[in-house]
């Protein structure tokens, strides 16, 4: 429509600067002078996949404790530096990777990178802070024990993945394991798993790429960890032989949450985008797709009823979530199953295919409106090895998909007679 001042062009190999430091850290920078802020986003190879079932929650607790004190700064100083600059820096432990994200005014990027480096390289895990943190996590776990959506979700994962699989467990840990985590555990986990190998840092904002890369190199370029292990393989999962059901009874609740589904593709699978488009038809496009139309719009059973394909590092759930009155649980499940059946037995219409192709490609400008959105896109390109021109080629990729591709993806992963159905709510009836 009109010329723009700043970000206009879609991020690609022509405007993303990618540099691999000598120690293996991958730095990606995208300059955007349209806003005053700068955002960092990235991850390290230090997720819960490396923890044992007895120490469930260790990776997440380690990540949460990184900013509780470092060799250079104590807790108060770290927070004064960050908050006085109106900057934010957070760590969060996932299954495969521990992520970090930060935001500040552009002139404070060196502060963000310095504190990021302090946190990942020199955390001290002070005893008193571990007690504090443990108490906060325990309070949060107690609250979640009463949360129907959280409990249905946990029951779903526990039924879908065997105990030896990392997805069986919550990354937060449990009421039993969190009290057992010690400072020594955190220190040992940090020493072994935090290192430059596999670390990715994306910087987006009002900053010159050369300056951003120099800053990262200054603070992290000489970091080494010779003993850092590779990601271990994830145990294979046996497909469900029959439908499994789990119910979590929580007295006093007025609504039941349903989480049902099966194991879908990983982000690396060739049919991931076909599955994602099939999922959009099932429970996203318009008002929560076909499921939203049936369960919410036609029957008025639920405020939310939608589906999602997670597509992570390894085969991840393809699930449907709905919150319904306890009396309507069975009816909602039946209608959701009807929609799964329809998706796997009939090709989607040409109109549905075209609608969703247009949706997938049309939403890119909105996703790239902010520095956070751009950084997230670039991080995904790097983590999942999509290539820096992924977004440039995205339109062609999406428009190559056919009705047959969508049907094949749905049939490969979904079937209504072999799903996990987890419900958390007030009573069995």
């Amino acid at each position: 429509m009109t010329a723009h001042n700043g970000m206009l062009s879609i991020p690609g190999s022509h405007n993303i600067r990618r540099e691999v430091l000598e120690n293996g850290i991958v730095v990606l920078v995208y300059e955007n002078f349209a806003a005053q802020s700068v955002v960092i986003s990235g991850s390290l190879r230090a997720g819960s996949q490396f923890e044992t079932a007895e120490k469930n929650g260790l990776a997440a607790m380690t990540a949460s404790a990184l900013l509780r004190g470092t060799a250079g700064y104590d807790f108060d100083t770290i927070n004064e530096k960050l908050e006085y600059a109106a900057a934010d820096l957070d760590f969060s432990g996932g299954v495969h990777r521990t992520s970090f994200s930060g935001k500040s005014l552009a002139e404070d990027l060196p502060l963000l990178i310095e504190l990021l480096a302090e946190a990942v390289r020199y955390p001290t895990f002070p005893d008193a802070h571990l007690d504090l943190l443990r108490g906060e996590v325990m309070t949060s776990l107690h609250i979640r024990q009463q949360d129907t959506r959280y409990r249905a979700n946990r029951a779903f994962y526990e039924a879908l993945y065997p105990p030896e699989h990392p997805y069986h467990h919550s990354t937060r840990g449990t009421l039993e394991t969190v009290p057992m985590l010690t400072v020594s555990d955190l220190k040992a986990f940090h020493e072994r798993h935090y290192g430059p190998a596999g670390m990715i840092i994306v910087v987006v904002g009002a900053i010159k790429a050369d300056d951003a890369i120099r800053t990262v190199r200054d603070y992290l370029g000489d970091w080494t960890n010779a003993d850092q292990p590779d990601l271990p393989p994830v145990p294979s999962v046996t497909p469900l032989a029959e439908t499994q059901r789990a119910f979590v009874g929580l007295p006093g609740k007025t609504q039941s949450d349903i989480v049902m589904g099966t194991i879908g593709p990983s982000r690396f699978d060739a049919d991931f985008l076909a599955a994602q488009l099939a999922n959009s038809v099932l429970g996203q496009f318009g008002m929560m797709g076909r499921i939203g139309h049936s369960v919410r719009e036609t029957l008025g059973l639920a405020y939310y009823a939608y589906s999602s394909v997670d597509g992570g590092y390894t085969a991840s759930p393809w699930s449907i979530t709905a919150g319904v009155n306890p009396a309507n649980v069975d009816l909602a499940i039946a209608r959701i199953n009807d929609e799964i059946d329809r998706l796997v037995t009939q090709p989607i219409s040409a109109e549905e295919l075209e609608d969703n192709q247009s949706y997938f490609t049309g939403r890119v400008p909105l996703q790239l409106e902010t520095n956070e959105g751009i950084a997230g896109s670039i991080l995904n390109m790097e983590i999942y090895r999509l290539g820096l021109d992924y977004l440039i080629n995205y339109r062609d990729t999406i428009y190559r998909l056919t009705e047959a591709d969508i049907l094949a993806a749905a049939q490969k992963y979904l079937t209504s007679d072999r799903v996990v159905i987890a419900v958390a709510g007030p009573d069995k009836k």
């Binding site: 723009h4 206009l8 908050e83 007295p251 159905i421």
Partner: protein, 438 residues
């Protein structure tokens, strides 16, 4: 900084336009000056329910049509019902903005309120309320608000009371729509990648011919002064005890608003009307409650409202800690602040935080349009444009005076949520009701 232009169409519709060329998108928002504040007993929640019905179709755009049309062009759309207003927005790639303009012009007058759709939506909204009721935070907040406001419409939750959701009729909803949805009760805002003259011409062509609605006096009853602390206790299943303390706060138009906002930032950390926030580990209450192992978290905030609302603090109590101990520690911090010990350095810090958070929030055109519409509804479309300047102008003396004036026990409501004791860890059963599932 202001590049906002304000126009009033002959039918009374206020139009605010702001060109922002940082991304090829536009956010279009239409706000109606009606919210839960204007609802009488018996029809509480009606503004929110009408908002839902606005998505249930017109002759031009049957139910579901716009969901698909907007998704097809990669846009997002939604609506929000608030204490003071109900607003609708579309954010779209700029070449598709006509779709948003047409959609809002159409449903301003042509929403159908089909009786079957009304009944279907009744259960959806009841389900929305039941979903909220699953959270102990909702129960506590509902009781605190109800205790803090005996007369004013801020008394009830925006979603409405269950008794009213079960009994309101299609005619109630339609009459509410007819009365409040008209250009002379609407504020329309566009922010993004457009030319102001071209956009104004398009808006005038589409909205200029919509007749004005009847003049009416919106229902609103002033709350009398509070003359003594109010306390409510709620017992519900919960993983921990919770405390919510609400102090009567000034309206957005009150000169004290900004000074009290600074008080709130000193106590519980900065946040922004644009929706962004940072951590609050340097705030006084975090240090006094979380670092002392009394609470797992503490937060606070105040809202820009037409009538005086609340400055609210929330505390999640650690298991095993007596809530009265937490409240005593909270009170000690309040008294310390009321004694006037805020420093220039503290004030400078929270000002910088608020400035930066405001800038972060302005990075989204959707937020900018929302803030402009709300500002106009508050009586001054430049309210947010001047937000940073007015924060900067707050003096230490004003902060001390605001703390002294507003953080009084006599004008607060203290809510306590006590776990009811019938929490179970959640009994897991396999193979439930298999025979019943179709």
């Amino acid at each position: 900084m202001s590049s906002v232009t304000r126009h009033v169409l002959p039918n009374g519709m206020v139009v605010l336009l702001k060109e922002v060329r940082s991304a090829p998108i536009i956010s279009w928002r239409v706000l109606y000056r009606v919210g839960s504040r204007n609802e009488r007993t018996g029809i509480t929640g009606i503004s929110h329910w009408v908002e839902h019905m606005m998505f249930k179709g017109t002759d031009k755009f049957p139910p579901g049509a716009l969901d698909k049309m907007i998704d097809r062009v990669g846009g997002s759309w939604n609506a929000a019902t608030w204490l003071d207003a109900t607003s609708y927005y579309e954010t779209l790639p700029s070449q598709h903005i006509d779709l948003a303009l047409e959609a809002e012009a159409d449903r301003m007058v042509n929403a159908k309120f089909d009786p079957e759709e009304v009944e279907s939506e009744r259960t959806v909204i009841i389900s929305e309320r039941q979903g909220s009721e699953n959270s102990p935070f909702f129960w506590l907040s509902e009781e605190v608000q109800a205790a803090a406001f005996r007369v004013h419409g801020y008394h009830h939750e925006i979603i409405g009371d269950m008794a009213d959701l079960e009994t309101m009729t299609r005619d109630d909803l339609f009459n509410h729509y007819r009365l409040h949805y008209a250009p002379n009760n609407a504020i329309a805002v566009a922010v993004g990648d457009f030319d102001t003259a071209e956009m104004l011409a398009k808006i005038t062509a589409l909205y200029g011919g919509i007749p004005s609605g009847e003049a009416f006096e919106a229902f609103a009853r002033p709350e009398p002064a509070q003359s003594g602390e109010r306390r409510v206790t709620v017992e519900r299943p919960s993983g921990s005890a919770l405390i919510e303390v609400g102090y009567r706060a000034p309206a957005a138009s009150d000169p004290d608003f900004f000074a009290l906002d600074m008080v709130c930032s000193v106590l519980a950390g900065a946040d922004s009307p644009a929706g962004s926030s940072i951590d609050n580990k340097t705030s006084r209450l975090y240090k006094a409650l979380v670092m002392k192992e009394l609470a797992a978290s503490v937060d606070g905030g105040m809202y820009a409202t037409i009538d005086p609302f609340l400055l609210v603090f929330y505390m999640t109590i650690r298991p095993g800690v007596d809530p009265e101990t937490v409240l005593a520690a909270f009170d000690a911090e309040i008294e310390r602040l009321r004694s006037g010990d805020v420093t220039e350095a503290e004030l400078a810090r929270v000002k910088k935080q608020n400035r930066a958070l405001f800038a972060y929030g302005m990075e989204r055109v959707t937020n900018q349009a929302s803030m402009l519409a709300t500002a106009e509804a508050l009586g001054d479309h430049l309210w947010y444009e001047h937000y940073v300047d007015r924060l900067n102008a707050v003096t230490l003396e004003e902060v001390k005076a605001a703390a002294e004036k507003y953080l009084r026990r006599q004008s607060r409501t203290v809510g306590l949520l006590i776990p009811s004791g019938d929490e179970e860890d959640g009994e897991m059963m396999d193979d439930f009701d298999e025979e019943d599932a179709e």
